[in-house]
C-alpha cells in the first residue's frame, strides 16, 4: 500500500504538499479553523507524518466551506481546499465515519439526486438527507419548504435533464478515474 502522503500527492490538488513550510497562513485565513479538530496546517503535517487514521476520522475536512482563502494565500502553491475534498473522498472510500457532522449524508443525498435525475430535485434530496440523519429535524424546515412550494420553487415531481445516459457515462468515467463515487 502506498504511504499516506504519496496517496494524497497523487490526487488532483495534492501535488505540492511536500513543499509546505508550515507557515500557517492557511489556518490563519480559515473562517472555521477553530471549529476543526485539526486546522489545515496541522492536517498537512499529519499527512506527511503518515497519520492516516487520525486524519481520515477527523472532522476537519468536512468543515471546509470551500472559500478558497487558504489556496489564494498559500506561498507554496498548495491547495488545502482541494486536499480537504480529497480527504473527504478517501475517508468515504476507506469507510471512515465521522461523528458530529452530517456533511457526508448531505453529499450522498446530493449525488444520488444527480444520479437519478441529472439535476438536483430539492424535495427528494432533502427527504433522503433527513431520513438518513434526523427525521425530526425536517419539521423545523417545514415552513420554508411550504413557502418554496407555494412559489413553485419546490416541485413534487422531479424534472430530468435531456441525455441522462450521457451524464451517467460521465459520472461512471469520473468514478473510474477518481476511484470512488
Amino acid at each position: 500500500m502506498k504511504s499516506f502522503v504519496d496517496e494524497v500527492v497523487a490526487t488532483p490538488g495534492g501535488e505540492n504538499i511536500r513543499a509546505c513550510i508550515q507557515c500557517g497562513v492557511c489556518t490563519g485565513s480559515c473562517p472555521v479553523a477553530n471549529e476543526m479538530e485539526y486546522p489545515p496546517r496541522e492536517i498537512i503535517a499529519m499527512i506527511r507524518a503518515g497519520m492516516r487514521n487520525e486524519v481520515l476520522s477527523s472532522n476537519s475536512m468536512w468543515y471546509c466551506l470551500s472559500c478558497y482563502m487558504c489556496t489564494v494565500r498559500c506561498p507554496r502553491g498548495i491547495k488545502p481546499t482541494e486536499i480537504a475534498h480529497t480527504l473527504e473522498c478517501l475517508a468515504n472510500q476507506q469507510g471512515f465515519r465521522v461523528k458530529g457532522t452530517r456533511t457526508p449524508a448531505m453529499y450522498r443525498s446530493f449525488v444520488s439526486s444527480i444520479k437519478g435525475n441529472g439535476r438536483v430535485h430539492e424535495l427528494g434530496m432533502m427527504f433522503r438527507y433527513y431520513m438518513t440523519t434526523n427525521p425530526l429535524a425536517a419539521l423545523k424546515m417545514l415552513p420554508v419548504g411550504l413557502k418554496l412550494f407555494l412559489r413553485h420553487r419546490m416541485p413534487l415531481i422531479p424534472k430530468r435533464v435531456k441525455g441522462k445516459e450521457d451524464l451517467s457515462k460521465l459520472i461512471q468515467k469520473f468514478a473510474e478515474i477518481r476511484g470512488s463515487e
Partner: protein, 652 residues
C-alpha cells in the same frame, strides 16, 4: 604527422565507476583508430593521473589526448596544461564528459557504459582532426569602472584606488552611499550605519585615484576584456560643481516641497536638494520635474540667494567617454513594494509601514528626529513586525531575502531601546546564520520581544471584540500552539523583500551579462567563481548579484576588487583561440555575420568589401558560421570536419 592518440578513462572515485564499467570502456577505446594507448585510473585530475598522461606522451610519442571524465568546465584547463607541459599543443586535447552527461544521469549500468563508449568514440574521432592553435594575449588597461556607489561600489573603488590605480565610480543618484546610508543601526553589532559609512564616503570624495561621477549613468559599453570603451551620461545638476560651496542656503529658500526618496517617502525635500546632510559630493541638484522655474518659467529664488553664483539653469547633460580594463557592477537592489499584498493593507491603513520607512523614522537624522510615532502623532504601545513580506512566496519572490530576520530583530531592539512598546515578531523560520547573529537573536528574546511563529493571514481594522476597537488587528495562526488568534496592535512593520533593481534587465543587456531566474545578475560559478560573470572582465559585487547583508557585501566587493587588480597587475590576459576566421576570398561582403554576431566582433572593411573578425571580441559562439550564406567562415576548434567526425563517432 600521423595522429597517435592516448585515451584515459577516469573513475572519479565512485562518481563514474559505480555506474559506468570503466575497464570495459578503456578496452573498447584501445581498438579505435589511431589509439596507441588506453587506460583507466581512479582520479585523472590528481597529480599521478596527470603524470600518467605526461609519461605516455614522452615514452609512446602521443600527439593527441582524450580524457573521459567530468565536464570541461571543471578540468579542461588542468589537462590542457598537462599536455602543454610536455610539448603537446593544448588544443590537441579533447574531453569526453562521462560524468555529468552520463554516469550522473543514467541509472542502468549497461546503458551508461554504452553511452560512455559512444562519447569516448566521438572524442577520439574528433581529436583526430584537431589543429594546433595559439592562444593570444592582449594588454589590460589599468583603469577600472565601478558602477554603483553603495557600500559595495565604495568598497571596491577604495580597494582598487588604494593600490594607486585609477577608478571611475558612477552613481545615478546625486550622492553616493546607497541603501546603507538610509539605515539607522546595523546588526548584530549595532554600529551606527552612518558613522561607519560616511568616513568611507569622504575618502571616495577626496581620493586622488577616484574620479567620482554622481547623477550619472552608463549609456554604452563596447570593447572587450582589458579594453572596454564606456560612454557615461552625466546628467545636468544645474549647479556648477566648481563654484558651489555646499552651504545649503538654496535648499532653505526653495519653495517646492517633494517626497524625499532618501527618507523612503515619509519625509520631504526641496526641488533643489542634497539627499542627506553627509552627501558626497555635497553639491545639490535641481530636480527638473519639480522645480518651479522649469515647470512655470518663474522663480529662480535659489539663483538669487546663492552667493557663489553656482546655479546654472543653462547646464546640459554631458557624455563622457572613458577607457577601462575591468568593470565592477555594484548596482544594488530595490525594496519590494507590498501594495499588491492586499490583505496586509499597506497604503490602505495609516500605520502599516515598510521596514525601510521605519528605518528612516527611527533614525535620529530622519524626518521625526528618531521618534517612533503613529500617523496621528501619538506613540504606539504595541508594534507587530511581519517577516518574509514578498519573500519565500511563489507569487512574489521565491527566494529568502536573507537579511529580513536580522533587520527585523534589530528593529525590535531599537523599539525596545526607544520606547516601552510591546513588540511582536511574526516569523516562519528565524535565519540567524552569521557571526554573532544567533547571539543577537538571543539578546532580542531576552529584551522581551515576543516571537510568534506563523505567517499572518491578514490585517484588518474591523474589531470583533471590544478590546480590538481602534486598533489594527493581525489575524494569524500561532503555529506552535495550533490555534488561530487575533492580536490588536497600534503599528505594523512589513519586513519587505530585497528584489532586483527595476532596470536590472536593461543593465544586464548593456553590459552583456546574464541574470538568474530570480532576476539578479548571474555569477560565473555559484561557489568557485562568485564575482566573475560570463563576460570576461566584468565582475559583480553586492546585492545586484543576490540579497546579502553588509558583511557579505563588503567581502564580495573586496573580492571583485582583487579580481580586477589581478588583471591589472599581470597587465595582459590570454584569449581563447577558438575564434571565427573569415576567408576573404570567399566573403561576398553581405554582412549577415555582422548582423548576427551578439558580441559586436565583426566589422566591415569598406576598402576590400569583406568582413573581418576581431579575435579579442569573438567568443567562438558560431552564430556567424551558420549565418554565412557563402560558407566563408570557419570556427577554429569547431570546424565542420571536426564536428562531423564527432557525430560519426557518436553513432558508431
Amino acid at each position: 604527422m600521423e595522429p597517435r592518440i592516448g585515451v584515459y578513462v577516469c573513475h572519479c572515485g565512485s562518481n563514474i565507476a559505480s555506474t559506468v564499467n570503466v575497464e570495459e570502456v578503456a578496452r573498447f577505446a584501445q581498438d579505435l583508430d589511431s589509439v596507441v594507448v588506453s587506460r583507466d585510473y581512479k582520479f585523472m585530475c590528481s597529480d599521478p593521473g596527470q603524470e600518467l598522461i605526461k609519461k605516455d606522451i614522452r615514452e609512446l610519442g602521443l600527439n593527441r589526448v582524450v580524457v573521459a571524465s567530468c565536464s570541461p568546465t571543471m578540468h579542461e584547463t588542468t589537462f590542457r596544461r598537462a599536455c602543454h607541459e610536455v610539448g603537446v599543443n593544448q588544443y590537441l586535447f579533447e574531453m569526453a564528459n562521462i560524468r555529468e552527461h552520463c554516469s550522473w544521469v543514467t541509472e542502468d549500468k549497461q546503458e551508461a557504459t554504452e553511452k560512455a563508449k559512444a562519447l569516448v568514440s566521438a572524442a577520439v574521432r574528433r581529436v583526430y582532426y584537431h589543429q594546433p592553435l595559439q592562444s593570444r594575449e592582449v594588454t589590460v588597461n589599468a583603469d577600472t569602472l565601478v558602477v554603483g556607489g553603495g557600500i559595495a561600489g565604495i568598497q571596491a573603488a577604495l580597494k582598487i584606488a588604494d593600490s594607486e590605480h585609477k577608478v571611475y565610480l558612477v552613481e545615478k543618484e546625486p550622492s553616493i552611499g546607497g541603501h546603507m546610508a538610509q539605515l539607522d543601526k546595523t546588526f548584530p553589532t549595532l554600529d551606527c550605519s552612518a558613522c561607519i559609512l560616511t568616513p568611507k564616503m569622504t575618502m571616495v570624495g577626496s581620493h586622488p585615484y577616484i574620479e567620482l561621477m554622481t547623477y550619472s549613468e552608463v549609456e554604452e559599453v563596447s570593447g572587450y576584456i582589458g579594453n572596454f570603451k564606456v560612454k557615461i551620461k552625466k546628467r545636468a545638476r544645474y549647479v556648477d560643481e566648481d563654484k558651489c560651496t555646499g552651504c545649503g542656503l538654496c535648499q532653505t529658500k526653495c519653495p517646492s516641497k517633494v517626497d524625499s526618496e532618501f527618507d523612503a517617502g515619509i519625509g520631504k525635500r526641496k526641488a533643489i536638494y542634497t539627499p542627506f546632510p553627509q552627501a558626497v559630493p555635497n553639491i545639490p541638484v535641481i530636480d527638473k520635474e519639480h522645480c518651479i522655474y522649469f515647470l512655470k518659467g518663474k522663480c529662480r529664488l535659489c539663483e538669487k540667494i546663492c552667493e557663489a553664483k553656482a546655479i546654472d539653469f543653462e547646464q546640459e547633460d554631458q557624455i563622457i567617454e572613458v577607457e577601462v580594463g575591468a568593470i565592477i557592477l555594484a548596482t544594488g537592489f530595490n525594496v519590494f513594494d507590498p501594495t499588491p499584498i492586499y490583505q496586509y493593507g499597506y497604503k490602505r491603513f495609516d500605520n502599516v509601514i515598510t521596514s525601510l520607512e521605519f528605518e528612516r523614522m527611527v533614525n535620529s537624522a530622519g524626518p521625526t528626529d528618531g521618534e517612533i510615532v503613529l500617523k496621528d502623532g501619538s506613540h504606539p504601545e504595541s508594534i507587530g513586525i511581519i517577516h518574509c513580506v514578498g519573500s519565500r512566496d511563489e507569487k512574489y519572490h521565491e527566494y529568502c531575502s536573507r537579511v529580513c530576520c536580522m533587520y527585523s530583530m534589530k528593529l525590535a531592539h531599537l523599539i525596545k531601546e526607544h520606547t516601552a512598546a510591546e513588540v511582536y515578531e511574526f516569523y516562519i523560520d528565524i535565519r540567524s546564520f552569521g557571526k554573532g547573529y544567533e547571539e543577537f537573536y538571543n539578546r532580542v528574546l531576552n529584551e522581551g520581544a515576543i516571537f510568534i511563529r506563523g505567517r499572518p493571514a491578514e490585517i484588518t481594522n474591523i474589531a470583533e471584540k471590544p478590546e480590538e476597537e481602534g486598533n489594527l488587528i493581525i489575524q494569524f495562526e500561532d503555529t506552535l500552539i495550533g490555534r488561530q488568534r487575533r492580536l490588536p496592535v497600534d503599528m505594523i512593520i512589513l519586513s519587505v523583500a530585497l528584489e532586483p533593481q527595476p532596470d536590472a534587465e536593461a543593465v544586464a543587456r548593456l553590459f552583456n551579462i546574464s541574470r538568474s531566474a530570480d532576476g539578479f545578475f548571474l555569477e560565473r560559478h555559484p561557489k568557485l567563481d562568485p564575482v566573475a560573470t560570463m563576460t570576461d572582465g566584468i565582475f559583480v559585487a553586492g546585492c545586484c548579484q543576490s540579497p546579502k547583508d553588509i558583511p557579505d557585501t563588503v567581502a564580495q566587493a573586496s573580492a571583485a576588487a582583487a579580481e580586477a587588480l589581478a588583471m591589472i597587475s599581470k597587465g595582459r590576459v590570454e584569449i581563447e583561440a577558438a575564434t571565427a576566421v573569415i576567408n576573404e576570398s570567399i566573403c561576398s561582403g553581405c554582412q549577415t555575420c555582422k548582423l548576427v554576431c551578439p558580441f559586436g566582433a565583426i566589422s566591415f572593411e569598406e576598402e576590400k568589401e569583406v568582413c573581418r573578425v576581431n579575435e579579442a571580441l569573438c567568443k567562438g559562439c558560431g552564430a556567424c558560421v551558420s549565418g554565412c550564406p557563402s560558407d566563408a567562415i570557419t570556427l577554429n576548434h569547431f570546424t565542420n570536419e571536426q564536428i562531423v567526425a564527432q557525430m560519426e563517432g557518436m553513432l558508431v
